[in-house]
């Protein structure tokens, strides 16, 4: 009898009934694999790992309930309709019935994903919790080239860009940004919204190449869901701060690829200032008209100005309707300040009273996002900027080129990394290391827990010291002092314990010596003999050292034995677990050792060079 014998007429039971392989699921649903894939992506259905893999180890298993869930979704019917529609169009074209084909093409079956969003994320917090991938994806697509004839529709890329800007505007407005990190892969941001830490990655603002090794169908299916999700999330977030959601942007700024700025302005004010600003922008325009836009190759800007002015006029008509909302919002803001937690307050006031000016070569979008998020005012070189380079109030100019043509003495010229490091350290760092033309200090990841990792880079310690200093200066709060004290106390404890260990060892040595002498006495070695022997002993001090090291070895061995001896009583499972943990710990230790070694080498070579 085979192992899984089932008498005829008896139903399947257990894992065989609960799980279904992918091929069988596709057959069961009577759809093509591509549609199945899309359904799974949109519905968030994923394979599961059954306890017993009845059909074999190398197959993917879905839960039968998940498949039933897919089978009952109206979306599956929609997909069938789309398939049929595509066939109709093809047939019409083949029969040269252009009229019918056009008519059909005008009205393809469409579907909405709002129901799915709610189904997958019944509460808003659920949605926020899963937002990481969504944001990363949307930001990635926002950075792809919006070119006709590529594999991605231009419309969708523009939509992604809009959504990402809306999100950033919200984060910036509510000062929810917590950590930033420039990596080789792009810039990581971490924000805290409703208590959820949301981390996302934006690629560097450079041309991405569409490679052939990815399946865009899969990615676009994901993107479809993510666009919807982020749209709704943005709506909810904007609603929560009393701003109309599909934001009406200043088209001229939009055209100048300063969408984010436009959005921020839209959010932070009501209507009146938009007009005023646009006028001042007009002045700027005249001055900086010669300066070409560097980003996004937006040379059409000048061509668009006429059109944009027209739209601006329309806007002015629309805007008064927002005014009550804006007023409300102002009222709300005053109350909201009180409800802000400490961290938000800290973030809000980091760059307070600082005025930044961005040069052309720095990543503008990123800095336009970060600086206002931490309470700073910012402008940039280009059209539509709120103030220009000659403004006397500018405290920091962010530049990234080796030399500077015209230097204002009233401001500091720093590299962009300074902003990121300040944000992570939550203090205004001294700008000495970040000055123009210098190699800035290492940029450290704020996501690493240095203590847990066991290795603290040098610069992290420097920052820690600066933070402590800043705290003492600015906020001599008792709590903080306590913290410092405890830190110091801990340090003291450690040194003390080291000292005691040292003392103990010395004592032991003495004791041993005493014992040895006692033994000798018992053995009957007279003092005179000993004194004769002594020169020998002094001769071979090396041997003594060896003996000492032997002694240490023995001690170590004894300690190890002590550790080992209790492992003998563990069950096999626990012992395996323990050993695995030990291996992991050792690996970590090795990594730290390697880092220390490299650091030492680097230091020694650097000092050799200095000589």
């Amino acid at each position: 009898m085979p192992k899984h014998f089932r008498p005829a007429g008896k139903k399947k039971e257990g894992n065989a009934a609960k799980y279904i392989t992918r091929t069988k699921a596709v057959n069961y649903l009577q759809v093509s694999l591509a549609i199945f894939r899309k359904l799974c992506i949109l519905k968030g259905v994923f394979p599961r790992q059954p306890k017993k893999k009845v059909e074999g180890n190398h197959k993917t298993y879905y839960h039968m309930k998940d498949i039933a869930f897919l089978a009952h979704d109206p979306l599956i019917e929609k997909f069938r309709q789309i398939k049929v529609h595509r066939k109709k169009v093809k047939k019409a074209i083949a029969k040269k019935n252009r009229d019918l084909a056009d008519r059909l093409l005008n009205r393809p079956p469409t579907y909405k994903l709002d129901r799915l969003v709610l189904e997958r994320y019944p509460t808003f917090v659920d949605a926020l919790r899963d937002l990481d991938d969504c944001l990363t994806m949307v930001h990635l697509f926002a950075a792809l080239p919006a070119v006709d004839g590529e594999r991605i529709e231009v419309k969708r890329i523009h939509n992604c860009r809009r959504l990402s800007h809306e999100w950033q505007a919200y984060i910036s407005r509510t000062h929810a940004l917590r950590k930033t990190f420039i990596s080789v892969k792009g810039i990581y941001y971490q924000a805290e919204v409703q208590g959820q830490k949301i981390t996302w990655l934006t690629p560097h603002a450079l041309q991405q190449v569409l490679t052939d090794d990815v399946d865009f169908n899969v990615m676009l299916s994901f993107l479809e869901f993510y666009e919807t999700l982020l749209g709704f999330v943005n709506f909810k977030l904007y609603h929560s701060i009393n701003v109309n959601y599909p934001p009406i942007l200043d088209p001229r700024l939009e055209a100048l690829a300063a969408e984010l700025y436009a959005l921020c302005r839209y959010m932070s004010t009501g209507s009146g200032r938009v007009i005023g600003n646009s006028e001042s922008g007009g002045v700027n325009e005249k001055e900086s008209g010669a300066i070409k836009e560097n980003e996004d190759g937006n040379n059409k800007a000048s061509a668009k100005t006429d059109e944009s002015e027209l739209r601006l006029a329309q806007l002015q008509h629309q805007l008064p309707s927002n005014e009550p909302g804006a007023l409300m919002h102002l009222v709300e803001e005053s109350t909201a300040v009180d409800t802000d937690d400490d961290e938000t307050k800290e973030c809000k006031s980091l760059f307070k009273n600082l005025k930044f000016y961005l040069s052309r070569e720095v990543p503008r979008e990123s800095l336009l996002f970060i600086i206002p998020a931490f309470g700073g005012t910012v402008s940039w070189e280009g059209e539509g900027a709120p103030f220009n380079e000659i403004d006397e109030d500018i405290t920091h100019q962010i530049v990234d080129r080796p030399t500077q043509s015209h230097v204002f003495l009233s401001r500091e010229y720093v590299q962009p990394q300074w902003v990121f490091d300040c944000v992570n350290a939550r203090i205004i760092l001294p700008t000495d290391g970040y000055l123009v033309g210098r190699v800035p200090p290492p940029h450290l990841s704020p996501f690493v827990d240095n203590d847990a990792e066991g290795y603290i880079p040098e610069y992290a310690e420097t920052i820690k010291r600066l933070q402590a200093a800043a705290r003492n200066e600015v906020l001599p709060l008792p709590g903080d002092e306590d913290l410092d004290n405890s830190l110091v106390a801990a340090m003291m404890d450690r040194t003390e314990s080291n000292e005691t260990a040292e003392k103990k060892r010395k004592l032991e040595m003495l004791e041993k010596q005493y014992h040895d002498e006692l033994k000798m006495e018992i053995d009957g070695v007279t003092f005179s003999k000993l004194s004769n022997e002594k020169p020998d002993k002094s001769q071979d001090t090396m041997d003594k050292d060896d003996a000492k090291s032997d002694h240490e070895d023995e001690k170590k061995q004894a300690e190890k034995d002590n550790d080992d001896i209790s492992t003998a009583l563990m069950s096999r499972r626990k012992r395996g677990l323990y050993k695995a943990m030990e291996i992991g710990r050792e690996r970590k230790q090795d990594k730290v050792e390697l880092l220390k070694k490299r650091k030492k080498n680097a230091d020694s070579s650097a000092s050799a060079k200095r000589r």
């Binding site: 991938d133 690629p203 990815v214 590299q415 190699v439």
Partner: protein, 680 residues
């Protein structure tokens, strides 16, 4: 055609013939008006006067009549380049080349003659041709892509040549069909269909307008029942790893691997190789686009929808908490822990040791063929016998008044007087070891007897000559009986001997596997036989099997019985030791994996709750093994100490270990020919 035109010109004829070639009969009337403005209209009008037919004839003939002056035919003119003539005339005479005109002459000519611009040099005939104005006009029209003649009307009115209105024979005499006058039924049906479709809204002409389908999806979230996710439990995908210091665009120096390290990555397996190699950029401006951005996004997508998900309990605990809580070692004292004495004297590995029951003497057997007796307290060697063969095993008679040693030398067993103790005791021992005559030879079944008792002349003892090699010897606690194990002895593998009667017999016919060791119960009439996998417990009185303990080991090497008799420890060749509580179960109560190599011996202390094991890995373990009189309480086992000190020789470590009968001291015999005494 080019030169034929020239021909006309040369003859100075009017263009009638040429005209005719353009004008077919149809166009002739229009021709008149078109050429009226032209300068050569006079000549044109002449041709107009002719009838159509005549014109056609003339045009036909003119082609034939006019022949070129040169008769070389259509050959490349380069052939005549070098010659003085350009060809032959119709009579076969050479046509000489004309003299070449100078430039000045040509210029002058150009200046003099107003018609000079119309002159063309005919290379074929080597002469100058003057084209008429009409011809020039035609050329210019041709260059513009128009019809050569200005007179041609490309879109004339249609002239219906066949007037059959009042003629007797129309082209078709069939009557006009009805369908020409009645609206089409099918068209009507189609229209009706379309109309209906439009009315019912199946066909819509206006494009569906882009509606804003975003709204406040998540309302107030107070209703918790609504806000539950339905269906199966949702397993959120693990979040992508957050970047470490090494992923920075400007990491500190220690995170950047050296060139050698990067090279060494190439030697690694594909999956071990680090996926990301840190790199340092001097400034943010020089950071390039990350080329794997799309790929990584895609991989994440694949992970999200293709990877099977399970909930895994990841224990995040301190590994130390996994260790069992052991009672403090201080409470379990005394136990041997430091080496106090070394007994040196043997020349080869000491295979076996045995302590006298009073604890005063220690006997040891070695591979160098000697048996030594040591005084325990001083470490002095009291006696040496040279027995002339490897001593495998040695056991001291447990009665203090019988100082007799049983030793396995080579294949056989040797009983000798240890020659310690008082005179009287020694005398009695001598007496015991006397054999009057040769043991009765039982050759009735024709087999070699299992054992023969023989007198050993040299050492004044007894040899028990076994039919095969003996591996183990063990005394009964009363000192009269002892047992030997002959592993390859089949049905006679385990033998029982009686010292006083000098008698042997083999009680066990059948054993489950090869016997390894046999031992007596310390108080009762029970007998333990350890085969390779099992321990059999026999009742000697009833002569039946009582219990079969399953060790689960591959090969048992040694066995020891707790002085209480209910607990057994068994050491195996895979370095494991197990404790049986025979009252509890036939399976091990606890198995300890303590040694990395074979266990050579295990032993219990007679008085203290201690047991020890020695192993080939040069260590001996001392453990606390408390057995409680309360049956409900399980024995307490605590490993106490690892005793090191022996060095490995020839791959062997500690070969034997024995406790002192009264003190918490442990003797270990090493392959490095040293016996060590560990004390508290």
């Amino acid at each position: 055609m080019g030169h034929s035109d020239g021909e006309h010109q040369l003859e100075g004829d009017d263009l009638s013939a040429d005209d005719a070639s353009w004008s077919d009969g149809v166009w002739s009337e229009d021709d008149d008006e078109g050429s009226g403005s032209g300068s050569g209209s006079g000549s044109g009008s002449g041709s107009d006067a002719d009838s159509d037919e005549a014109a056609a004839e003339e045009s036909d003939s003119s082609e034939d009549e006019v022949a070129p002056r040169n008769t070389v035919g259509d050959v490349p003119l380069e052939w005549y380049k070098e010659e003085e003539h350009i060809g032959y005339d119709i009579d076969g005479r050479k046509i000489k080349k004309r003299d070449r005109e100078g430039r000045i002459e040509a210029y002058l000519k150009n200046a003099d003659d107003a018609k000079n611009w119309r002159k063309i040099y005919d290379e074929y005939n080597d002469e100058e041709v003057q084209i008429t104005k009409e011809e020039a006009k035609i050329i210019s029209r041709l260059l513009k892509g128009k019809t050569p003649h200005g007179n041609v009307d490309p879109y004339p009115d249609y002239v219906d040549w066949f007037e059959y209105e009042d003629k007797g024979h129309p082209l078709s005499s069939a009557p006009e069909p009805k369908r020409r006058f009645v609206p089409s039924k099918w068209e009507q049906k189609k229209v009706v269909k379309l109309v209906r479709a439009i009315r019912n809204g199946w066909i819509k002409f206006d494009k569906p307008k882009e509606e804003n389908n975003l709204y406040l999806l998540w309302g107030d979230e107070t209703d918790t029942a609504e806000n539950k996710r339905h269906g199966l439990s949702y397993i959120p995908a693990p979040k992508p790893n957050l970047p470490g210091h090494e992923e920075s665009y400007n990491p500190s120096v220690e995170f950047i691997p050296t060139q050698e390290e990067i090279d060494s990555y190439q030697l690694m397996y594909e999956e071990d190789r680090p996926k990301f190699i840190p790199k340092r950029f001097e400034c943010l401006r020089s950071v390039p686009a990350y080329e794997k951005a799309l790929r990584e996004g895609f991989d994440r997508c694949l992970d999200l929808y293709l990877c099977p998900r399970t909930r895994k309990k990841r224990i995040n605990i301190d590994p130390e908490s996994l260790k069992p809580k052991l009672p403090s070692k201080k409470d379990l004292r005394p136990y041997p822990k430091t080496c106090y004495l070394e007994f040196k004297g043997h020349m080869g590995p000491v295979t076996s040791i045995s302590v006298e029951i009073t604890g005063q003497w220690l006997a040891s057997g070695s591979c160098d063929g000697t048996i030594r007796v040591w005084e325990v307290e001083t470490g002095r060697c009291a006696k040496v016998w040279n027995v002339g063969g490897d001593v495998r095993r040695i056991a001291w008679n447990p009665l203090p008044e019988r100082p007799i040693l049983a030793a396995i030398v080579g294949h056989d067993l040797l009983l000798i007087n240890a020659e310690v103790g008082s005179e009287e005791v020694q005398m009695r021992a001598k007496e015991l070891l006397k054999i009057d005559e040769m043991a009765p030879q039982d050759n009735t079944d024709g087999k070699k007897p299992a054992v023969r008792w023989m007198k050993h002349e040299k050492l004044d003892g007894i040899t028990l000559i076994h039919h095969k090699a003996v591996s183990n010897v063990e005394w009964h606690f009363k000192g009269d009986y002892f047992t030997t194990v002959v592993p390859s002895g089949d049905t006679r593998a385990v033998l029982l001997h009686q010292l006083t009667k000098k008698h042997s017999h083999h009680p066990f016919r059948k054993l489950p596997g090869l016997p390894v060791a046999a031992t007596f119960h310390p108080t009762q009439k029970m007998f333990f036989v350890a085969t390779k996998k099992f321990v059999q417990v026999y009742d000697l009185q009833k002569a039946q099997l009582v219990k079969k303990l399953e060790s689960g080991f591959r090969e048992i090497s040694s066995i020891s019985i707790h002085p209480g008799g209910d607990n057994v420890i068994v050491g195996s060749k895979d370095g494991k030791l197990c404790w049986f509580d025979t009252d509890l179960s036939t399976r091990p109560y606890k198995a300890l994996k303590i040694h990395s190599k074979d266990i050579t011996n295990v032993t219990f202390h007679r008085k203290y709750p201690l047991f020890a094991s020695s192993s080939e890995d040069c260590t001996a373990y001392v453990c606390h093994g408390m057995v409680y009189s309360d049956l409900n309480q399980n024995p307490l086992i605590v490993p106490l100490e690892i005793l090191r000190g022996h060095s490995s020789s020839d791959g062997r470590g500690v070969l034997d270990c024995k406790f002192h009968p009264k003190q918490p001291w442990l003797f270990t015999a090493g392959a490095d020919s040293v016996i060590r005494l560990y004390c508290d």
